[in-house]
């Protein structure tokens, strides 16, 4: 059996054209654009040696930046997941005029440049803005604050949370739900015990994707956070700051820490997504 399939494979490889040229193009672009840049980054960081690396990546300002980045991203991802579940639920389960419009609006953060999002959010939430004029007197500072960072991160990560849960909700098996209702469960009980466990992996994946998106975000945050060191400075902003001061070693070290966080999150997301795919089968 093995022999036949490998012969078939070998035959197919020699029948279908283009292996050589596509391999050449792929290798060239992949090496030039991904492998070399990331390797240079890693090697430059490694050349620092452990003590210097730690000194660069673990300064008080850097630690504050990680805290702001992680803290705001986790809160934003959590808010996105909860709001995303609600919106996905309404889009899948309830028919109402304007449903298609609502569904299309969900994609806006994916297409809108982050700089535009940042500009518009900061304009909205300052004292004279459309929303700020109500919120600032109440003490809610949306602009130049940690809250502003969270708001803008929710904006960019919401579509991820919604679009992961939506298909799972759509393909949910109604039979167990109906059985539960017929057996006397209230709607809340049905949701908590039948529906939510079935969609939880997807909700979790949505959270992880939202978190990954939020961690790397730069463009929108620079407009709204005020970029105050130790208070509202996120890690990418600190990296740029160091770069502009030509402190390449420090910038590289912080970048590697950020990269490590992102890549481990990627691994987690991939594992979760495989689990969701398996459950859906």
């Amino acid at each position: 059996m093995n022999g036949i399939s490998s012969t078939k494979r070998a035959a197919r490889r020699s029948v279908l054209p283009g292996f050589g040229i596509s391999l050449a193009i792929t290798s060239l672009v992949m090496t030039a654009m991904v492998i070399i840049p990331l390797s240079v980054l890693a090697l430059r960081a490694a050349s620092l040696g452990p003590t210097e690396f730690l000194a660069a990546a673990w300064t008080p300002r850097a630690r504050a930046a990680y805290a702001v980045s992680l803290g705001a991203s986790v809160v934003a991802a959590a808010v996105s997941s909860v709001c995303g579940l609600l919106v996905a639920w309404v889009l899948v389960r309830i028919d109402f005029p304007g449903r298609r419009l609502l569904d299309s609006l969900v994609d806006v953060p994916l297409a809108l440049p982050t700089a535009v999002a940042g500009l518009v959010y900061s304009t909205l939430y300052v004292e004279r803005g459309w929303l700020g004029r109500f919120l600032v007197p109440l003490g809610i500072q949306g602009a130049y604050s940690w809250l502003g960072i969270v708001l803008v991160l929710v904006f960019v990560s919401l579509p991820f949370a919604i679009r992961v849960v939506q298909p799972v909700l759509e393909s949910l098996d109604r039979d167990s739900e109906e059985a539960a209702r017929m057996l006397g469960a209230s709607r809340v009980q049905t949701f908590l015990k039948v529906i939510f466990p079935a969609i939880f992996p997807a909700v979790l994946t949505g959270f992880a994707l939202a978190l990954a998106r939020a961690l790397g975000e730069y463009g929108s945050v620079v407009f709204i956070s005020g970029n105050m060191p130790f208070k509202t400075e996120i890690a990418p902003v600190l990296i740029v700051s160091r770069l502009e001061e030509f402190a390449y070693a420090e910038a590289t070290a912080i970048a590697v820490v950020l990269l490590a966080m992102s890549i481990s999150l990627l691994v987690v997301v991939n594992t979760l997504q495989q689990r969701v795919a398996r459950n859906a089968q």
């Binding site: 279908l16 991904v34 840049p37 980054l41 806006v108 440049p113 700089a115 518009v120 730069y218 890549i263």
Partner: protein, 298 residues
């Protein structure tokens, strides 16, 4: 997307949920989107036009975005087609690694990507001295912008094409080869027509991302007004200079482009869904004629 079936839910709960969902999307997405256009045209269309056309640095930013983004998208389209062909039609060691590597730009912060490019092409970078002696500028110049934009949009076309090419399968291409078609003929006459909607979808998304890219471009450009500022960078510079109406004008162009992207995406997705349904229907047809049909053939 499928129409919801009639539920037996409490209408009051339903109305509350709808209100909450509309409130969330409205507050987070619709209001900001509307305010871009409202603020951009607050002083009238003439002022809007003046802000865009009469400022040489803004004109240059628009021109720069319109040249850098399509170039990056073109590179990624070639790369995407080549990689999708390679991955979906052949099996070779390192194939899954390649697929994983394609996803990396998604999980790397754009600023980190820009930093990596600076470490290679910057004055103090790996190739810095070599480039200086050749008189070539990459960082603080448009080649750097193209590289940065290409990096962040790398996965977008590939990820569209791989599932489609795997779903369609190589049968038609194999048939073409066995009938004597050359490689180029197979590609243009068989593959390309099959993947055109997925390709268009990827290109549209990649273009939107490329035109909107901020972080990576910010780092490699040195944000020199009139030389290396793309449109998003111009928005930021005008904002820093407290010229918010002008900033909003440029932002409104980008927002308009985003809306066009979404409409195009919607139209293309309808085509993709129709094609997927056709594929399903074709797959479920029996391969052999059944006995009753056979009997009726004279």
């Amino acid at each position: 997307m499928p129409k919801p079936t009639i539920t037996t839910a409490n209408p009051l709960t339903e109305r509350l949920l709808i209100a909450a969902a509309v409130g969330i999307v409205g507050l987070l997405i619709a209001v900001p989107l509307a305010s871009v256009f409202a603020e951009a045209f607050a002083e009238g269309p003439a002022a809007w036009w003046r802000a865009l056309a009469h400022d040489p640095d803004t004109r240059h930013a628009i021109w720069l975005s319109l040249t850098v983004a399509p170039l990056a998208v073109a590179i990624n389209t070639v790369f995407g087609i080549a990689t999708a062909w390679l991955v979906s039609r052949f099996r070779f060691p390192g194939r899954s690694l390649l697929i994983t590597l394609c996803d990396i730009p998604f999980s790397v912060s754009p600023v980190v990507a820009g930093l990596a490019l600076v470490l290679i092409f910057g004055r103090q970078g790996l190739l810095g001295p070599t480039l200086a002696s050749l008189g070539w500028k990459v960082i603080f110049s448009w080649p750097g912008l193209v590289l940065a934009t290409t990096f962040v949009t790398l996965p977008l076309v590939v990820r569209e094409l791989i599932p489609v090419m795997e779903a369609i399968g190589p049968e038609e291409e194999l048939a073409a080869v066995s009938l004597g078609a050359s490689g180029w003929q197979v590609f243009t006459r068989v593959t390309l027509p099959n993947i055109r909607w997925a390709l268009l979808h990827g290109v549209v998304l990649a273009n939107a991302r490329a035109m909107g890219e901020f972080g990576a471009v910010y780092v490699v450009s040195g944000h020199i007004a009139g030389v290396t500022d793309t449109m998003p960078l111009r928005v930021e510079k005008l904002f820093q200079e407290y010229r918010t109406p002008a900033s909003m004008a440029v932002a409104s162009v980008l927002a308009g482009l985003a809306l066009v992207t979404l409409v195009a995406k919607f139209v293309i997705e309808r085509q993709l869904e129709a094609e997927a349904r056709e594929l399903e229907a074709a797959r479920s047809l029996p391969d052999t004629i059944d006995s009753s049909t056979q009997a009726s053939i004279p």
